[in-house]
């Protein structure tokens, strides 16, 4: 936050610098037309003259303030004459004028002679004659400084200096001056050009770059020269203040007004407006400087509320472990219980700390703020995790905190925190067990080795265990199994999802019942050691309540939602082939008629029923496992006509893993066994079945005497008889 604010203020500063720069530029602008032949500038001038031709705003009498380099007959300038030079004037022959003139000139001369010449307003003598005391004074001054009074060219001093300079030096100096002037004009031209660019994005980028550069420079400055940096920082602060004072970014500008009109219809405009407002807010945010009076006020509040902000602060200071106070505020139960208290309390300590650090020492403050920010964020994250995992803890604590006792407990807790920072376990126990006898931690647990890196989850579970040990022991004590079961059963009915249940009735198994089955608690002989402590009657009630709160229905709701989604996803989609506007009117807001839609809607065939249709607590993925399918048989071998027949023949495994050695050997014997070294004759047509002579049977017999068909045997007999 603060870092971004700093960046903003730096940005503002840079903007202001621009503003400051501008007036400085202005005088330079006036002495703009110079002898340097800047083509662009000439072009500019031309454009200006063209624009002035229309006569509306005929302005500017360009004055030559300096002697031109080239004065030539070809370079006629009409400047300064006030009236335009017409070409005809130039082309007029001299002769005509001369012929005419002789008489006229004479006339004029006569007129001049006859008339008394008009005296110049300030005649030499008259000037020198100072009449009023003021004039005398002025003259005195001028004389003293040897300023030229009549001929305003060079002062004697200048003359002397000119004389003192050699010619080369003077030339060099002049060249230098010229160069400087040229550079300046270049710069101006460039600035003007850039200023004319309309792209907002470009300007944004430029601005950002500038800010970045400024920030970097500031960083460097801080390293090199802290004092200067401090000054810079003050400047930044001032810029921010200026921004605060100004009416910038306040929806009052021309642009903003136009946007405000458009905002009603245009989303972009609305966004732009909002952005601007947000920016304004950011820029004009007042830094909270905790004045003493404020603090006092706050202290008063605290005492009024009887809450323990000391504890808060201390816990905040505690380096490891999230603030239990903050943690509690995160749970949703707190909203009901203490909604009016915590929101006020929460942000304060942080802001307070920040302001403090700012007040103390500026240069170091930045870093500290950053560090604090990081820490804060981390703690926030941790807190959220904790609140997710250990909801029951939170709820437990809130319930407790409703009673006044807990406050005192908390106080005790805070003191305990001071004593031993590292162990978080005692916290849980002390909070929950209240005025129980505190179990002594084993000495080994006290000294925490460096290697121990407990994951948060485990810890929460442990805490949870410890919290609920007692609860269950009570259950065991006070509730008979049947009674408890009833309670559990009643529990879901009370909860506000009765309509859903009704809907669920169609399904065979009720999810609610399924999750809250009657499960009698175990009467185990060995109860975990921590169970031995017994609690009061009222606390038992409290814990029952906690249990009810904990048995949230959102788990079920989420699951059902997920299941519905997966069902939707796996359903085959219908194909809609309607062409809007085909055979009827079409356009915006017109829909094709239902009849037509029905006609062109190709309904997807209803797939086979889902396997989890009657199992409300299960989502079975209906997708086919392609990788496994690649290994399955895809073609039926010959004698089989149905896959179930073939499957039956391959259901018995033949590997040695599943069979005895003998069975395995028998299952895997080849059909034909030949002894090694036996000559295998090439196949003959008789072997395949062509019966040409009786000898073929003999060959068959030799190959495999066991596998003889009856007909073969008959033939064999015949042969032997023959």
């Amino acid at each position: 936050m603060t870092a971004s604010r700093a960046a903003k203020s730096v940005l503002a500063l840079s903007q202001q610098e621009e503003l400051v720069d501008l007036p400085e530029d202005c005088p330079l602008n006036v002495s703009e037309d110079e002898e340097d032949s800047d083509g662009e500038r000439k072009h500019q001038k031309l454009l200006e003259t063209i624009s002035s031709l229309d006569g509306k705003n005929r302005h500017k009498v360009a004055e030559r303030s300096e002697a031109s380099l080239k004065v030539s007959e070809f370079n006629v300038s009409a400047e300064g004459s006030g009236e335009k030079l017409v070409l005809a004037d130039l082309l007029e022959p001299v002769k005509t004028s001369s012929s005419l003139s002789l008489a006229t000139v004479k006339k004029q001369l006569n007129r001049v002679k006859s008339k008394k010449t008009v005296e110049l307003p300030l005649h030499k003598e008259e000037i020198e004659r100072a009449r009023t005391p003021l004039e005398q004074e002025v003259f005195n001054l001028l004389h003293k400084n040897k300023q030229p009074v009549t001929d305003p060219l060079l002062t004697p001093m200048e003359k002397a200096s000119l004389k003192a300079m050699s010619l080369e030096e003077a030339k060099m100096r002049r060249a230098e001056l010229q160069r400087a002037r040229a550079l300046q004009s270049y710069y101006e031209a460039r600035a003007r050009r850039e200023k004319k660019i309309k792209s907002k994005r470009y300007h944004k980028i430029v601005k950002k770059e500038k800010a970045k550069r400024a920030l970097k420079a500031f960083e460097q400055l801080r390293k090199v020269n802290p004092a200067a940096a401090l000054e810079e920082l003050k400047k930044i602060e001032k810029a921010r203040m200026m921004e605060r004072m100004s009416l910038k970014h306040q929806n009052s500008g021309k642009w903003a007004k136009s946007k405000a009109i458009m905002a009603k219809y245009d989303l972009e405009a609305r966004q732009a407006m909002q952005e601007q407002l947000a920016k304004n807010k950011e820029l004009t945010q007042k830094l909270q400087v905790a004045s003493e009076s404020e603090e006092e006020e706050r202290g008063a509040e605290e005492t009024e509320e009887l809450l323990v902000p000391d504890v808060v602060n201390e816990v905040q200071m505690n380096p490891d472990g999230p603030n239990p106070w903050m943690l509690r505020s995160c749970t949703r139960d707190i909203k009901e219980a203490e909604a009016h208290e915590d929101p006020e309390e929460l942000p304060d300590p942080v802001a307070h700390e920040v302001s403090e650090s700012e007040g103390d020492e500026r240069p170091v403050a930045e870093e500290e703020i950053l560090l604090k920010e990081v820490e804060e964020r981390r703690s926030l994250r941790r807190r959220s995790e904790l609140s997710q995992d250990a909801e029951p803890v939170g709820s437990q604590e809130t319930k407790d905190s409703s009673s006044q006792e807990v406050l005192s407990e908390l106080r005790a807790l805070s003191q305990k925190f001071k004593k031993n920072h590292q162990s978080r376990k005692p916290k849980a126990s002390s909070v929950s067990t209240g005025h129980q006898v505190q179990r002594e931690e084993p000495a080994l647990e006290e000294e925490e080795p460096l290697l121990l890196q407990r994951s948060k989850r485990v810890q929460t579970v442990e805490e949870l265990e410890e919290l609920e040990k007692e609860e269950c022991s009570q259950n065991q004590e006070f509730l008979r199994p049947g009674l408890k079961g009833q309670q559990l059963e009643r529990n879901p009915n009370n909860l506000p999802n009765a309509p859903k249940e009704k809907k669920k009735k169609e399904q065979m198994i009720d999810l609610q019942n399924l999750l809250s089955t009657k499960s009698p608690s175990v009467k185990s002989l060995a109860v975990p050691t921590t169970l031995e402590e017994m609690d009061d009657e009222e606390e038992r009630d409290q814990k029952q309540m906690i249990k009810e709160a904990f048995a949230g229905d959102d788990v079920i709701r989420d699951f059902l939602k997920e299941k519905r989604e997966s069902m939707e996803a796996s359903k085959p989609k219908d194909v809609d082939l309607t062409l809007p506007g085909w055979g009827e009117w079409g356009g915006m807001g017109l829909k094709p008629s239902t009849k037509k839609r029905r006609r062109f809607l190709i309904k997807a065939p209803e797939g086979p029923p889902r396997k989890d249709k009657n199992l409300p607590n299960v989502i079975i993925n209906e997708k086919r496992n392609i990788h496994a399918a690649a290994h399955q048989v895809q073609v039926l071998p010959y004698p089989f006509t149905h896959h179930s027949q073939f499957e039956r023949t391959i259901q018995t495994p033949i590997g040695s893993t599943w069979n005895t050695q003998r069975a395995f050997q028998k299952l895997t014997t080849p059909k034909v066994v030949t002894k090694p070294g036996h000559i295998i004759k090439p196949i003959k047509p008789e072997d395949v079945g062509y019966r040409s002579s009786s000898r073929s049977d003999l060959s068959v017999m030799q190959r495999n005497p066991k596998r003889l068909s009856a007909s073969h045997k008959k033939q064999l007999k015949k042969n032997s008889v023959d």
Partner: protein, 573 residues
């Protein structure tokens, strides 16, 4: 104080024999061969064999090994097909009978613990058991006092001979726990989340704070697997050579240990994963989530195969029994439930525990152990792999610290417990399989034997993509692609080669082949077919009606008896 009646532990003699793994379907037993010729059996002395022929085999044992599902009705088949089917059936019968005969070689019986009449076995202390059993078995109960390096995770090797344990504060050790010979002991100087043996005791995977490391039995670091980071739980699938890792980042990663490649990295999309177990029957990984669901994963599918809503609070522990039939879960709502995994995924047993179970484990014979704080409860069913009844614990034991990891030792009646006070090896009579398969996992194997086994196991490695919910489905025909191919073939040929040809009456002589008679004969056949169809459909209808009636009957029975039907009943929908 009573003593256990009998605590039977498996002695050390080793029978090496083959034992079948899967046993479900039924079959007819083989009858003892009839005496053919009494005279031929008579010996020289004239004495007669009082038990002629091979010894009879008990029916139920044979049925255990029969795998052909005969409940399915087959469509009518040709004689050739019938012959093939018959051959398959006889083969199955023979093999199952031989397997049943070899059951004789499984000489060892599981141990048990029985209280005197009405006495609770849960009250029997470990000290009593140790006193009652022989010295060798008594030596199997021991405690390792390791208070310094935090709660321990334990893992037994597949043979049950070696024990590896890793303390959360970096202590990693492996030992031959029977002889108490230490293999290695190191401190990895980093938090250890989980530890697991790979296929043999020579390799050890350790999930450390940042990466996954693999050490050998000397404690030398072999690999640091950076692609598996922030691992919380490890599982090793022995037949697939896959190391499944669940990470804090929510990824389930399968690492093929034999080739060192990552087979699949699946995003569970459910936050931090720290509850994982494997189903030993089908190598499916079960993950427990904080929203009370358990999801089942296979590396071949990117989404969970099944999602089961088990608890109202988050799931704290999951365990699956060795036959893959039951899954035990415990949640933050203090419930312990046992689910049926055979397609229905419904809870069979449920129980509220005083403090919920943080760790669960099934033994080879189906005993269920639950670690609740510093107490361990063990429940037993009746007989092997039966559903443990959660009524009364079979055994209980109190430890010096809260339990952090537990596993039953294979082939030994021992439960290994890792807790914050060290390691405890606890005697649980009847927990383990008494007979082992010497070729598969032999606790007494030598180094050479191990090497040989390793090569064989690698040759028989099952590809990762074959992991699916029902492994027997692989022995079925892929019907979808079969149909597809059939369709394509018909399209290609332009006609259906397997279509039934319409009846064509044979030509007959003596004027009986007139057109009228031909038509008549045709009609006759058609009518017959039609009648058959009608009859079939009628039968189906009847069956359906019967089923409905039965259901109604059941529902009526289930309903409480009303005193008298009210007149307003007609408005009840």
């Amino acid at each position: 104080m009573s003593r256990p009646r009998r605590t039977n532990f498996r002695p050390k003699n080793t029978h090496i024999l083959k034992k079948s793994r899967i046993s479900k379907k039924l079959q007819v037993p083989k009858k003892p061969r009839e005496r053919k010729n009494p005279e031929s059996q008579r010996s020289l002395s004239g004495a007669q064999d009082p038990f002629p022929g091979p010894a009879p085999v008990p029916v139920d044992v044979v049925q255990k090994f029969c795998r052909i599902d005969k409940s399915k009705k087959l469509p009518r088949c040709r004689s050739k097909t019938r012959n093939r089917l018959k051959v398959a059936e006889t083969e199955e019968e023979e093999t199952s009978v031989t397997a049943a005969r070899s059951e004789l070689l499984l000489a060892e019986e599981p141990g048990f613990l029985e209280g005197e009449d009405g006495e609770d076995t849960a009250k029997i202390l470990q000290a009593d058991i140790v006193e009652a059993v022989d010295i060798a078995s008594a030596a199997k109960h021991f405690d390792l006092n390791l208070r310094q390096f935090g709660p321990y995770r334990v893992n037994y090797s597949r043979t049950g001979r070696h024990l590896a344990f890793g303390g959360r504060r970096g202590h990693v050790a492996a030992l031959d726990w029977v002889t108490k010979k230490l293999m290695c002991e190191i401190n990895v100087m980093e938090a250890v989340r989980d530890i697991r043996f790979l296929h043999s005791e020579a390799l050890l995977a350790v999930a450390q704070n940042r990466w996954l490391y693999i050490y050998d039995n000397q404690g030398i670091e072999l690999h640091c697997i950076r692609r598996c980071d922030r691992v919380t739980r490890l599982e090793f699938l022995p037949f697939h050579f896959l190391l499944a890792t669940a990470s804090e980042t929510g990824f389930l990663t399968y690492l093929d240990v034999s080739v060192g490649k990552i087979v699949a990295a699946l995003n569970a999309r459910a936050g931090r994963l720290d509850v994982m177990t494997q189903n030993p029957y089908n190598a499916v990984i079960h993950l427990g989530h904080s929203n009370g669901t358990v999801s089942l994963w296979s590396p071949a599918v990117k989404e969970p195969l099944v999602k089961i809503l088990c608890h109202r609070g988050g799931v704290r522990a999951v365990a699956v029994d060795s036959t893959g039939t039951y899954m035990a879960t415990s949640g933050l709502d203090h419930q312990l439930k046992i689910f049926d995994l055979r397609g229905t995924y419904q809870p069979l047993r449920a129980r509220t525990l005083p403090q919920g179970a943080g760790h669960l484990a099934f033994s080879q014979r189906g005993l269920l152990a639950a670690g609740m704080g510093d107490v361990v409860n063990i429940w037993a069913g009746h007989g092997k792999a039966s559903l443990p009844s959660l009524e009364q614990p079979y055994l209980t034991h109190r430890l010096s610290g809260p339990v952090h990891g537990l596993q039953f030792c294979p082939f030994e009646d021992v439960l290994g417990l890792g807790h914050s006070g060290g390691i405890t090896s606890m005697l649980v009579p009847g927990s383990a399989e008494p007979n082992f398969d010497g070729l598969e996992s032999n606790p007494y194997r030598s180094r050479k034997q191990r090497q040989e086994w390793e090569v064989k196991a690698l040759l028989e490695k099952v590809p990762a993509e074959l992991i699916c919910l029902d492994p027997r489905a692989l022995a079925e025909v892929d019907v979808i692609s079969l149909e597809q191919k059939k369709k394509e073939r018909i399209e290609r040929l332009g006609y259906d080669p397997e279509a039934k040809t319409p009846f064509q009456p044979k030509p007959k002589q003596k004027g009986r082949s007139s057109t009228a008679s031909l038509v008549k004969r045709k009609r006759k056949v058609m009518d017959k077919e039609h009648r058959d169809k009608v009859r079939q459909s009628l039968e189906q209808q009847q069956q359906q009606q019967e089923q409905q009636q039965q259901q109604q009957h059941k529902q009526e029975k289930a309903k409480p008896m009303r005193a008298r039907p009210s007149a307003l009943d007609r408005f009840v929908r």
